[in-house]
């Protein structure tokens, strides 16, 4: 325990130096900015900003890059809440209730609770990394393709619960999402699937393109249809910050979300994406009145946002303790370490203790800064919603185009948001919900790849999924959740549930 405090002390000594404070602030600011801009992701931006960090010392460089990373997570929620465009897989759920809150004039409350919940989650996750980072690495290694597949199955079951309309339609959307995720070159055989021979489809559909199309552009098309609900906040804008009642409703979801997010974030291979979905499912299941979800329930923002930030934080564990990057942004951090002559791996902690602990301490500092940056911004964002829609949507449109173009410099990506916008519009008209489709899409690819890997390793034995205890446990949870989800429709004895309207 003494070690723990002396290590943290060392870390804060580094993180609180004037230069590092400045870099953390700069990183958080840039991160917030690119997170808010639809489409512009942290990957493209960090890659472009990498040369700027060449001249810095490695600790400072990594502190800034980490700041951009979680700043972007923060900013992404803002866009999801204000204009219903989830920039990252993790903010899809935030868009569900957050945007509804915004439509009800409660954008400030949603943004506020997201910021405060994230700060709490970030604080806890920082402590988790500092205290348990090393032992938790073992947990990550337990997770192989078999366990991962079962985890994804559980995630897909959550997607059923996400939907608030017909369960049948939700299942159909999940399947379509998984189907879309199989478009592109097959990882194992290298054969192209469902690409129509188009070269830009050979790597599959980009998440940002799909999400921006079926959420963002479709939302614009839908709003253009409905003048009366269109100006997002026609009614008076309510409070800018959450009040006591909001906190009372939100504090438990924040704690639960933090726990879920922290655990899932540790898993290799980007387990953090599941965090917000799992948190949302949990909140909806234990709520007294689950029908409020999807209609602006504050718990539906507080839980997932906390899980999101906690996961973003703890996903540094595999990077810091093993040197294995769990996602593309972390891979860039590896690049940054390489440039500075630091070899990512288990020895960073002992060979570069100032870097290791300085970075951990700076995570908390960064979270505090994000709170300081974002709370005053809430007023500004909410005012943005007062811009007449006829001026707001062309601006959103242009930002979307630029953002998507900046990801791969491909005009075809931009055209695809138009295509998926039309698809999303059709889905709305036919009574389908886009959120389960997106979740199916995100989890689908991970699920297929791990399913096949698990079967190669087990030489084709399906029993591998039951023989592995962790995997079996996850599948049982999935089955139970599925039963609970289907219960209302079974009890009411109808094949289709339009209830909840």
């Amino acid at each position: 325990m003494g070690d723990f405090f002396s290590n943290l002390g060392l870390g804060f000594g580094v993180a609180l130096s004037l230069q590092n404070l400045g870099l953390a602030f700069l990183g958080c600011l840039v991160g917030t900015l690119i997170g808010v801009l639809p489409g512009v992701g942290p990957i493209a931006t960090i890659a472009m900003l990498l040369p700027i960090t060449f001249g810095l010392d490695p600790t400072g460089a990594l502190i800034m890059l980490a700041g951009i990373y979680y700043g972007a997570q923060y900013g992404g929620s803002t866009t999801a809440i204000l204009v219903n465009i989830p920039g990252e897989a993790t903010s899809v759920v935030t868009a569900l209730d957050g945007h509804q809150m915004a439509r009800q004039g409660r954008a400030g409350v949603a943004l506020g609770i997201a910021a405060i919940g994230s700060f709490f989650a970030g604080t806890v996750a920082t402590l988790v990394i500092a205290a348990l980072g090393k032992p938790l690495t073992g947990l990550a290694l337990l997770f192989g393709p078999t366990e991962y597949f079962s985890l994804m199955v559980m995630g897909l079951v959550f997607a059923v619960v996400l939907a608030h309309g017909s369960i049948l339609k939700a299942v159909a959307m999940i399947l379509v999402g998984v189907l879309l995720s199989t478009v592109g070159t097959d990882l194992e055989t290298g054969e192209e699937r469902m690409t129509f021979g188009l070269p830009f489809l050979s790597d599959g559909i980009d998440f940002a393109v799909l999400a921006m199309g079926i959420f963002g552009i479709a939302e614009i098309l839908r709003n253009l249809d409905h003048t009366e609900t269109r100006d997002v906040v026609r009614q008076a804008i309510g409070r800018l910050l959450p009040n006591k009642d909001d906190f009372r409703q939100a504090y438990k979801p924040v704690i639960r979300g933090t726990l879920i997010g922290s655990i899932l974030g540790i898993l290799p291979g980007n387990g953090a994406v599941l965090g917000p979905f799992a948190a949302y499912t949990l909140e909806k299941k234990i709520a007294k009145d689950p029908r409020r979800f999807g209609r602006g329930a504050i718990e539906g923002v507080a839980g997932p946002e906390s899980a999101n930030n906690a996961g973003a934080q703890t996903s540094f564990i595999p990077l810091l303790t093993l040197g294995i990057p769990p996602n593309a942004v972390m891979a860039l951090m590896v690049g940054a370490m390489t440039i500075h002559g630091i070899i990512p791996g288990p020895q960073v902690m002992t060979k570069n203790p100032t870097l290791f602990w300085g970075m951990i301490a700076s995570m908390w500092v960064g979270n505090l800064m994000l709170l300081v940056i974002n709370l005053p911004l809430v007023g500004l964002w909410v005012r943005l919603l007062k811009v007449p829609y006829r001026m707001l949507f062309p601006a959103i449109l242009m930002f979307c185009c630029i953002g998507i173009y900046s990801i791969n410099s491909l005009p075809t990506d931009v055209m695809f948001i138009a295509f998926f916008g039309l698809v999303g519009y059709a889905l709305i008209k036919l009574g389908f919900e886009p959120a389960p489709l997106l979740l199916g899409f995100v989890l689908g690819r991970l699920m297929e790849e791990n399913f096949r890997r698990a079967l190669i390793i087990s030489r084709g034995e399906l029993t591998t999924f039951i023989d592995h205890p962790v995997s079996a446990g996850l599948l049982i949870v999935a089955a139970v959740v599925l039963l609970i989800a289907l219960q209302p429709s079974i009890r009411k004895g109808r094949d289709e549930v339009f209830v909840e309207d």
Partner: protein, 293 residues
């Protein structure tokens, strides 16, 4: 000016590409912007660069994969990379390493391969993806040493290394930066390097060739090329700036830290080398009967 990099942003090699771009840009007095596109094994970026105006504003980072392997591996490569570009210089040719988890019973490459030969198809190895340098180096090893093992492709080296540590893979051939930290901490053991001779970085580790398969050599190399027809004087200027950048200062240090010696040879040497490599990989791919659409 732009530098087209035929794989996605992130990771050690991309970082070095950016470092080189920075240095070259400074020497030429303008910014060299990196454009990543990893689609279709790098083929899309390579084709785009081939079609770009040969005005000296486009430079391609020429990787082993898109330049000499993919034309034999993919059925739909529309250009011949060897004739579509004017080579400038080879930057580096980095060895890969054959690694096993620390609790593996095999302490020598020979033992691992003996075991693999006696148990055809039983051993499992991970790779950074179908057609990646790590996959091809293993395929070549299996051909040379005449054994069969089961391939499990991953998306990038990271998750594959994770499963190697978790004991679900028996061995792996991978690039140095993707595993160096774990080698230093003793979590994995290096059995051999894939260069012809020992690497300066791992003086105590023999090469595959020295372990009993003298014909074996596989490196992950990359250099700079420009679209065919780029004016000679401009091409020379870029080449000179590149060679200066990679053989001095921080870039040299970083390359050496990854067991990759900076090279900076002449366009003629680079051309000859790519031709030889292309012929060699055509053979290997044909023998292994792997293909990618």
């Amino acid at each position: 000016m732009k530098l087209v990099v035929p794989y996605a942003a992130g990771g050690g090699t991309d970082a070095i590409a950016r470092l080189v771009a920075q240095g070259v840009g400074e020497k030429l007095g303008q910014s060299l912007i990196v454009e990543n596109n990893g689609s279709a094994g790098g083929n899309v970026a390579t084709q785009q660069a081939a079609k770009a105006e040969p005005d000296g504003y486009t430079v391609l980072m020429a990787n082993q994969g898109p330049m000499v392997v993919n034309p034999h591996l993919f059925k739909n490569v529309k250009i011949d990379p060897l004739t579509a570009f004017d080579p400038l210089t080879l930057i580096t040719a980095a060895p890969l390493v054959v690694v096993v988890p620390k609790n593996s019973p095999h302490k020598l490459l020979k033992e691992l391969i003996d075991h693999a030969q006696k148990n055809p198809g039983k051993l499992t190895y991970g790779s950074a993806g179908n057609g990646s340098a790590s996959h091809l180096a293993t395929v070549l090893l299996a051909q040379e040493a005449k054994f069969q093992a089961t391939h499990v492709p991953y998306r990038g080296a990271g998750p594959a290394v994770n499963d190697l540590l978790g004991g679900r893979m028996d061995f792996m051939v991978t690039t140095v930066p993707s595993i160096l930290g774990l080698i230093q901490s003793g979590d994995v053991q290096v059995l051999a390097v894939t260069s012809k001779t020992r690497a300066k970085k791992f003086p105590e580790v023999p090469s595959v060739a020295q372990s009993g398969w003298p014909a074996y050599e596989a490196t992950a190399w990359y250099g700079f090329v420009v679209p065919k027809g780029t004016p000679k004087d401009i091409a020379d200027k870029i080449r000179k700036a590149t060679v200066e950048t990679i053989t001095t200062g921080v870039v040299r240090e970083r390359l050496e830290a990854e067991a990759a010696e900076p090279i900076g040879n002449s366009p003629e040497e680079f051309t000859a080398m790519m031709k030889a490599e292309s012929a060699r990989w055509a053979e290997i791919v044909k023998k292994a009967s792997i293909s990618v659409d």
